[in-house]
Symmetry: C2
Subunit: 385 residues, 2 copies
């Protein structure tokens, strides 16, 4: 198995991008990532596209071919990968595997979602839940995560303010990220007084409906210096599944697939949770950021709220979490998120993250979740070969 490195990354601005189509977004991200890798389109051997629901959002499937054509990369193989909001993370995994296997040398993984072309994004998003057992009964994602939040408060005494603190942190970092959908700070009070969505979660606990794309170029680690002065090395790429329906889980306060995927990733990378300097975690709702920092092993179960309150996940804290602003402030175009996470960690490990730079970051991690944890992808990236 060949080792793999990231040599090019990009992200479009995330937001309500009325002037850009689904295909425009991927092409913009793809071209920029190829340039960032000091390559031209002709260098790319294959591409993977992470996209949750082109079908329900823009009436378009067959997304690999669409993107290959519109980015001028046909006839190379182009494959769309889907795992709800973890589609991007899984596309990156397939790109890594394609290089590791020796099938291809230079592979692009891109992610995209165009969510603002429908009047109501909720029915499409609900397709990430179990349609027959959850969505058809009226369950939506805010309500699922609200149950997880309520249970965490009940079991561990986590406060409403601590949960809100994760969204506040996202906006604090997002204010420094020119590609973030929301570039302004918010307060805990603002979160607590914002419109109620599904008690205890308010609108400012929720990531937004977003358009956007991101892209990453990978190649064999041994060739990486040809394309980048600061290649970032993939130390582990893991994935785990769990029940798609929340009601089938043993616990509402632990995402088992995060534990499974991250522990395997630490083993493969030869590190421990405490070695991670910077992490991009999947805070589609504020409570999910809190669950992530516990389930990844950064803090003990039940102590995530206190860690947020104590500033332990700030950029200068014990572990810098979501320096990009995370899903809450950077935005969450579903299929793009896993790739945008890898782009952010790459910028951080290169030392290219400008005002939001985490000083001296050497080991980074991404955690990308589908649904309520039916799928989790974890990547460990490093400055050092």
């Amino acid at each position: 198995m060949r080792d793999v490195a990231i040599v090019g990354v990009s992200q479009t601005k995330f937001g309500e991008l009325w002037d850009k189509s689904f295909r425009d977004l991927v092409v913009e991200a793809g071209v920029e990532a190829i340039h960032d890798a000091n390559m031209t389109g002709e260098d790319i051997d294959a591409m993977y596209i992470g996209n949750m629901s082109g079908g329900l959002f823009v009436g378009q499937e067959h997304i690999g071919a669409l993107i290959a054509e519109h980015s001028g990369l046909a006839p190379i193989p182009a494959t769309r990968v889907e795992a709800a909001c973890a589609s991007g993370g899984l596309a990156l995994r397939q790109a890594i595997m394609a290089v590791a296997s020796g099938y291809y040398d230079k592979v692009m993984a891109a992610g995209v979602e165009k969510m603002t072309d429908v009047v109501d994004a909720t029915p499409a998003i609900a397709a990430a839940a179990d349609r027959e057992w959850e969505a058809q009964q009226g369950v939506t994602f805010p309500s699922l995560y609200a149950m997880m939040a309520r249970r965490h408060m009940h079991e561990y005494g986590t406060t409403r303010e601590q949960i809100a603190g994760f969204a506040v942190l996202g906006h604090k970092n997002g204010a420094l990220n020119p590609k973030a959908q929301f570039q302004r700070e918010i307060s805990v009070d603002a979160v607590l007084n914002s419109t109620k969505v599904a008690s205890p979660l308010n609108i400012l606990d929720c990531s937004p409906v977003s358009d956007g794309a991101a892209a990453v170029v990978v190649c064999p680690a041994e060739d990486a210096k040809k394309y980048s002065d600061t290649p970032i090395y993939v130390k582990a790429s893991t994935q785990a599944s769990d029940t798609i329906a929340l009601h089938s889980r043993k616990s509402l306060t632990t995402i088992e697939s995060t534990i499974n995927a991250s522990r395997k990733a630490y083993d493969i990378a030869g590190i421990e949770a405490k070695d991670v300097d910077v992490a991009e975690v999947h805070d589609c709702f504020s409570i999910n950021g809190l669950l992530a920092i516990e389930d990844l092993g950064f803090f003990k179960k039940g102590e995530g709220g206190q860690a947020i309150e104590d500033g332990l996940i700030e950029r200068d804290g014990q572990v810098a979490v979501n320096p990009s602003g995370g899903l809450k402030a950077r935005g969450h175009p579903l299929g793009a998120t896993g790739i945008a996470q890898a782009a952010e960690i790459t910028w951080q490990l290169r030392g290219d993250a400008d005002k939001r730079q985490v000083d001296g970051a050497e080991i980074g991690l991404t955690q990308n979740i589908g649904g309520t944890g039916g799928t989790v992808a974890v990547h460990v990236l490093s400055r050092n070969k």
Copy 2:
């Protein structure tokens, strides 16, 4: 890169399966393939699911996790792959790559589509075309393939009867396949006198709307004899893209991505087109079967019609094409087709195809198309290591 073998295959009956749900179908196919590989569920390390549009057909995305849960295989990684009607072929490719890379040892590739839960399947199927440039203008797949048929007749003098002959062949073989949707023969006259769909194509030139699933289990070639007395070896797995929109092609009578993918496959496998004993090709419409036998190099461009008329693709002909009945008679549950093709070739090369057995078949090929050729996957399989 590790060599890979197929050690277990299965297919549900294809048809209008009102009594089975989307998830039921995959579980049925998956369990049978695992048993066929003399394994239990615990042996499987990862799974790939080919599915075109769970979103538009049954309102369900996040299909990997759904299937992992309902087949009892969670927490293993489960990844959905989509490329319209080539979704199955690409899922098989990813499974092969996952084993070749060393990431996993025993991997299932399954394919599924449940098309009869919607009142009209056409809008969902049209998502395989370019939504903005084709489908929104009213183009459907019968009309696209009708243009290709008309042009082939114009350029090469191909007759309407020759095109119909491909559908007749499918039904002749399908009549011997207990898992086929249509198990009865039809005549050229029946095709010519059936309801007009898009001139020159009639209803009996078109593959049906189908429900169904299929599954394949792959492992390293060096371990294959542990699981099967007659493992079938993957000699090549290739894929190519082309424009998704038909109007952007140089030719309407050649699917360039079939040429690209098949020539690369022949190179990798060290064979020529004439070495293929049995092939399952993508006859979503009769004309597409005709294009396939030309573009794969079995016959020269323009001579496919005569080859059909002369019986050269019958089971005892120069090359046995679609002994299963093909998409026309076996049925075409979109995401399942590429996997069902691999299952049929495996049965043929094992000598397990009962009444439809192609005598002495040693080298087989599958060709799985997305859209009008925006994606093509080709696999070369062999009895011999």
